[in-house]
């Protein structure tokens, strides 16, 4: 493994930090996220074969982090989605799921900026989808 590959991994770690803790990212570096992306791509261009595939896999995971923490709205929806998944897994154990989910929806909606409302959520618990991703 050459220096460029290790450096690229380190920069991808820094890029992930920008997604899950932007304040700590700002504390750590003067780079902007855009400039950091450029440097990662620059280093990626210097790698080949398996090393490049491994780095791309890391970047794919970064895309996942980025997508899921895009903004406050996304964060609010994630809480809803987590609640929904938990409900699906534990469905047989929960006797009052509709009440619990209703509470989760209210809490998530309260966290949304009013200007971004309304959003639409399918109400039928069996086929619930989040229809608007702001």
């Amino acid at each position: 493994v050459n220096d460029e590959v290790i450096h690229a991994y380190a920069l991808i770690g820094l890029r992930a930090l920008a997604e899950y803790d932007f304040n700590e990212f700002k504390r750590s570096t003067d780079l902007t996220k855009g400039r950091l992306d450029d440097r990662i791509n620059e280093l990626l261009g210097q790698t080949h074969g398996q090393e490049r595939e491994d780095l791309n896999r890391q970047l794919d995971q970064l895309e996942s982090i980025r997508h899921e923490s895009e903004n406050q709205v996304a964060a609010a929806f994630l809480r809803v989605r987590s609640a929904w998944r938990a409900r699906s897994v534990h469905r047989p154990l929960l006797s009052d799921t509709s009440v619990r989910l209703s509470w989760e929806f209210e809490r998530a909606a309260a966290a949304l900026p009013s200007m971004l409302l309304p959003f639409t959520i399918g109400h039928r618990l069996g086929t619930m989808n989040i229809c608007v991703w702001v």
Binding site: D3, A10, L14, T29, D30
Partner: protein
């Protein structure tokens, strides 16, 4: 001259730095220190990671007891690694330093408490503000602008 002191209404700032960060800045960044500081040594509204006095007390105890498994040591290693990764150093230097930071013993994190003279630092060098109300960044502090309260 528009200085940080005039802008913030405070003549001095305080910062706690681990020895290793200072040493790396001396060796690789021409003695210019990327320094977060507060205008109070014990800013009550800042988190503990942004409070120079709390940081000093914590690191002083950790290094005195050589508390190798303390989470603050791992956290500092992470912070230093992120700083080096995002700097303008070459990949070779970056990798050397990442290895050095990873292998650094606890005493390398012994704290230095700094007092900064903000009256002579131009406002243009105040490049960022932090998450907490009393948290500011200068990226090119030099030794002449620093008084080591606890060396």
């Amino acid at each position: 001259v528009p200085t940080i002191a005039k802008h913030l209404g405070k003549d001095v700032g305080y910062s706690c730095q681990p020895w290793l960060a200072i040493d790396i800045a001396d060796r690789y960044f021409g003695g210019k220190y990327r320094t977060w500081f507060a205008t109070s040594v014990n800013p009550q509204l800042n988190g503990s990671s942004s409070n120079p006095l709390v940081l000093f007390q914590e690191l002083d105890r950790i290094t005195y007891t050589n508390d190798f498994h303390h989470s603050r040591i791992n956290q500092l290693k992470g912070k230093l690694s992120h700083w080096i990764s995002g700097s303008k150093l070459t990949s070779a230097d970056t990798v050397d330093l990442l290895a050095e930071i990873a292998a650094a013993p606890v005493p390398a994190f012994r704290p230095r408490l700094w007092k900064l003279d903000l009256r002579n630092i131009h406002i243009s060098r105040l490049i960022d503000i932090g998450q907490f109300p009393d948290e500011y960044l200068v990226s090119d502090l030099i030794k002449a602008e620093i008084v080591e309260l606890v060396p």
